[in-house]
């Protein structure tokens, strides 16, 4: 890890003035997300997970950092790579694993799977299988907040690939002209499936697109959770005070392939190693916490153990759950 990166984080931890409790919780959530995803890989290999899934290992800081300023009433829209977002927003891990195993105790009673985990109770409007689909939905949710004066803010997660969809541009424009309480949070992990963002756009950063719609925008280091928190907190405050939407571009890296069937031929192993070695968001946050005396190595080991245990319990819960009965095929189609 470069000294430059460390310097920024040490400065931020003082500037943000965060509670030890919150910092530890965020550390734990990041570990939990990673353990969750690693466990899914195993379950998938064991043939217990049907279909596919999109893992967010390496992107824990954006998920946890972006959700930190959000209240339970605030809402998120998520993406196909959404497990981290859900966990960060407070979605129950037991029910998530159950859903991934297609059990009736899952969030969607086994009918949604990886790409449709949603939890209205904690303001998780759902992952989405359609790229950029969360932006117009989030815009609508923000409109509800505005029209009904509910005071909540919507944060839309999306990837770099989504910014080339019409829905991205239309939603930013609409949210801007209606001055909606929304944060457009782009996790730029450099690849839209296999397409490098460098090849898919001709601009230096995605954040410049906000200017087209009169939306304040910035590009941040998405693997520095403290930077994510800082930028998102400001954006959420802007939204909450009726100052309209913000576009945040958080640079990060997708450690795994797009899905389970990706040989990652479009990038080098060296590139992957470099990101993992020197820019692991968990390692970076841990270092900052250790250096600032927030936690010890023992504390970290304990958080690690606790996360592993929680995931084990979740798998146990999921595996012991019932599968949905066949007659649910035709339920919940209409109200």
């Amino acid at each position: 890890m470069s000294n430059q990166l460390k310097g920024v984080s040490n400065q931020l931890i003082n500037e943000l003035n965060l509670e030890k409790h919150d910092l530890t919780k965020m550390m734990y959530d990041m570990i939990l997300i990673r353990k969750f995803e690693e466990n899914l890989k195993q379950l998938y290999q064991q043939g217990k997970i049907h279909g596919t899934m999109h893992l967010c290992i390496g992107q824990e800081a954006t998920a946890v950092g972006a959700c930190f300023p959000l209240t339970k009433e605030d809402k998120i829209t998520s993406t196909h790579r959404g497990h981290g977002h859900s966990i960060a927003k407070g979605t129950d891990v037991n029910k998530m694993v159950a859903e991934l195993l297609g059990k009736v105790t899952g969030y969607c009673k086994g009918k949604g799977g990886s790409m449709h985990i949603a939890d209205m109770e904690v303001g998780n409007l759902g992952a989405n299988g359609i790229v950029a689909a969360g932006l117009p939905l989030g815009t609508g949710a923000a409109l509800t907040s505005q029209m009904k004066k509910l005071g909540y803010v919507v944060l839309c997660f999306f990837g770099d690939g989504a910014t080339n969809e019409g829905a991205f541009h239309e939603s930013l424009n609409l949210a801007s002209v209606w001055n909606l309480p929304i944060v457009f949070f782009c996790e730029n992990n450099l690849y839209g499936m296999s397409g490098s963002i460098k090849e898919m756009t001709n601009i230096e950063s995605i954040a410049v697109r906000g200017a087209s719609y009169g939306i304040p925008s910035e590009t941040i280091d998405g693997n520095d959770i403290l930077e994510v928190i800082k930028a998102t907190t400001a954006a959420v405050e802007r939204a909450r005070h009726n100052n309209g939407p913000t576009l945040i571009e958080a640079n990060t890296y997708r450690w795994e392939g797009h899905s389970r069937s990706d040989a990652r031929k479009y990038r080098t192993r060296e590139e992957e190693k470099e990101w993992k070695k020197s820019n692991d968001p968990i390692e970076r946050f841990k270092t900052v916490l250790l250096e600032n005396g927030i936690i010890t190595e023992d504390d970290f080991a304990e958080l690690n153990e606790k996360a592993i245990k929680q995931i084990q319990d979740a798998v146990e819960f999921a595996e012991s759950s019932e599968s949905p009965s066949l007659d649910t095929l035709m339920t919940d189609i209409y109200v």
Partner: protein, 326 residues
């Protein structure tokens, strides 16, 4: 009873529902002082203000998703798609989002929204502004599809659609907007899924949708003069479909013509024919079921070509004679 036009009935229904329920609002392109492309929302912005009569950018992908998102979170949006043809730009939000939210979230979400879709040919708007794509929507579980054929039905069905907790695709016919009929002043609902026997008869059943209901009724008048007693069934909602009403009529007459404006190939009438063929009403058929649908061509501009592209009164008249071997 007073008579008002179809478009006035749609407007009155929306306005009355908006007065009754704060959560109901309308969004769409040019629906403010312009009054919408067909003037359906004329004057509504004066009463309800720009908050609840929301003029949108020309962004079907965003506004449709916005409608879904606001519906999921507690509003009851009415989305006006300027021409029903443009719904294809909003298709993801309707097909992949609105229709599936409830199911894929395990029953934990609902999307109470109405998409109003001025459709059909006859106005000289040519290929991209004249289609009848309602059958596309009927193919999607999770959507309801409504197709009123007169002002009375339009008002009552729209009220029911707005109150419905599911996404409802509401197909209005632009050639019917100025057609007047008796409509009560008070708000009323016509339940979705209940067909209407527009005319009772015993010799032939015409199952017609949208504009074709009106043409079927005209043809029925002409046939009555020849002693042929035609029954005209208007399903009014395609999803849910009042199968019972259709099958009962088939059993009664044994001779069926299905008339719709959409392209004949795989139009919704095809589904009605299949329904009959698979049902116990089959045994009552006394002639092959006939269909009248639009030409398998884009809607042309030239007025004579445009007329030729969809069934006319005379076509219906002729088909009925054919059904009766006359």
């Amino acid at each position: 009873m007073r008579e008002i036009s179809y478009s006035e009935a749609v407007r009155e229904s929306m306005s009355q529902m908006m007065r009754e329920d704060e959560d109901v609002y309308i969004l769409g392109e040019d629906i403010g002082v312009y009054g919408g492309a067909f003037g359906v929302t004329s004057g509504m912005i004066d009463e309800f203000g720009p908050e609840r009569v929301r003029i949108t950018p020309i962004s079907e992908a965003a506004i449709s998703g916005c409608a879904v998102g606001s519906a999921m979170t507690g509003m009851r949006p009415i989305l006006e798609i300027q021409f029903s043809d443009f719904v294809v730009i909003a298709m993801d939000n309707i097909v992949n989002q609105a229709a599936k939210m409830r199911y894929m979230f395990g029953g934990k979400a609902k999307v109470p929204m109405v998409v109003r879709l001025p459709s059909g040919s006859g106005a000289g708007f040519a290929a991209q502004h004249s289609q009848s794509l309602e059958a596309w929507m009927t193919h999607i579980p999770g959507l309801k599809v409504v197709q009123p054929s007169n002002a009375y039905d339009a008002k009552g069905l729209l009220a029911a659609a707005i109150k419905d907790d599911n996404p409802v695709m509401f197909y209005e016919h632009k050639m019917l907007y100025n057609v007047k009929s008796e409509v009560p002043e008070e708000l009323y609902e016509i339940p979705l899924g209940v067909a209407d026997i527009k005319r009772e008869g015993k010799d032939v059943t015409i199952i017609a949708t949208g504009l074709m209901v009106n043409r079927a009724l005209e043809a029925a008048e002409q046939l009555a003069a020849e002693g042929i007693d035609v029954e005209v069934i208007d399903p009014r909602t395609l999803v849910p479909l009042d199968e019972k009403a259709i099958l009962q009529s088939v059993k009664k007459t044994g001779r069926v013509l299905v008339a719709y404006e959409a392209v004949k190939r795989n139009g919704f009438g095809t589904e009605i024919v299949s329904l009959i063929a698979e049902s116990d009403a089959f045994d009552y058929l006394d002639a092959p079921i006939l269909r009248l649908g639009g030409a398998e061509a884009p809607i042309p501009y030239n007025p004579e070509l445009e007329k030729a592209a969809i069934p006319q009164v005379h076509d219906i008249y002729q088909k009925c004679l054919e059904l009766l071997n006359r």
